[in-house]
């Protein structure tokens, strides 16, 4: 295992291969316990380009967290750490459908006025383009207020 610039964690989750500069955005959509240690790494050297890393002591991600991360950082990998060892490592996968993770950015969409669950289909994965099932508008990641 190659040398890390930050201390290893005993139990928790490491998010690797976050696009450089996106770590704080990814952090903002997760809700780590305020008492736990979080390490934020920005502009680390990656294989071909710079990347960000997040390390969470104790945090376990839920399915909806992973879906959100996939939209923000489609190439991210998730490492589950138990007792200083990586017990599971996987790449996030952009799902085909995303339900109720954020509001539709279109102020004229019916979901904004009727308190309806939002539904998006992923029209394109690289770059990510999402289409609201209701108003049918398409959005890129920058337009979505996660």
């Amino acid at each position: 295992m190659r040398e890390l610039k930050v201390d290893a964690i005993k139990n928790g989750t490491v998010l690797d291969h976050i696009p450089a500069g996106k770590a704080l955005k990814v952090l903002s959509i997760l809700n780590p316990n305020p008492k736990d240690v979080v390490t934020i790494g920005i502009n680390f050297s990656g294989k071909s380009q710079k990347k960000d890393i997040l390390k969470f002591e104790n945090l376990e991600l839920k399915k909806e967290d992973v879906d959100k991360i996939a939209v923000l950082a489609p190439k991210a990998t998730i490492n589950i750490i138990h007792d200083y060892n990586v017990v599971k490592k996987y790449k996030v996968e952009v799902p085909d459908k995303l339900e109720n993770l954020w509001d539709c950015p279109n102020p004229n969409c019916i979901t904004r006025s009727e308190n309806q669950k939002t539904k998006f289909v992923v029209e394109n994965k690289e770059p990510i383009v999402l289409r609201c099932v209701y108003c049918e508008r398409t959005f890129d990641v920058e337009e979505i207020n996660l």
Binding site: N106, N108, C109, I110, T111, R112, S113, E114, Q116, V129, C132, V133, Y134, C135, E136, R137, T138
Partner: protein, 301 residues
Amino acid sequence: MQDLISMRDLGKDDILKFMEIATAIEKGDLKPDMKGKLMAALFFEPSTRTHLSFETAMKRLGGEVISMSGTANTSVSKGETLADTTKVISQYADIIVMRHPLEGAARYVAEHVDIPVINAGDGANQHPTQSLLDVYTILKTQGKLENLNICLVGDLKYGRTVHSLVYALSFFNPRFYFVSPENLRMPEHFLKDFEKLGIKYSEHLTIEEIIGEVDILYMTRIQRERFADMHEYEKVKNLYILNANMLQNVKDNLKVLHPLPRVNEISTDVDSTKYAHYFQQTKNGVYIRQAILTLLLGGVQ
């Protein structure tokens, strides 16, 4: 098919089925009987033309209509949700036709009621019955849908009618000509889709440069409400005005269409030429809506 919400839900076969039924109804070969069926026309945003066209269609089928136009003095103005309002009406009627200012409203209602829902316009999103009547008009005037040269003029960026129509026509190997000012061009993602589908298109700044080549000239209104800057609107509002002089060297089968209402895009001197077809287009709207109502109410298999 349970509902008609968006052209995006329809395939080529669905479109052709609507054409087939509308043709049979117009020719008198098919006389669906909707006696005893009740259509609720819910126009949360008033619309004279579409509303009357639907009422006419249902009545010509022998069915009956209950109607709402605008939301003043209704449960909506008391703060009732759209879901509740339409759930109640679905207890009375057999089918709902609705127009609503919010985008996605028709799909949302369709998820909440057990009777068929027809979208008669949801904000800037979809107006599938307009697109189907446009396709029907093109079929009737040209005798076919495949391999036509089709020119769309005006606001190609925001025009809901334009977007649904090109989507529907994409099934029939069209050659598109897009005429618009630079800032109202067809959105890039449409152009990319055409390239993927192998559909030929070109973009132009004037009608004159392509009018001799086309079978259908589809004019649209440049909508003032789309412009935040009135100065920008003033620059483009009179850019495309079709007059009878421009129709001298055109194909014999050319037809000029417009979803109406027009402002000044088509001079009245065009009305009396053999190319003008926008008023007949509205009549086709009744046949196509008869076909849609018939299909969704189970009047044909």
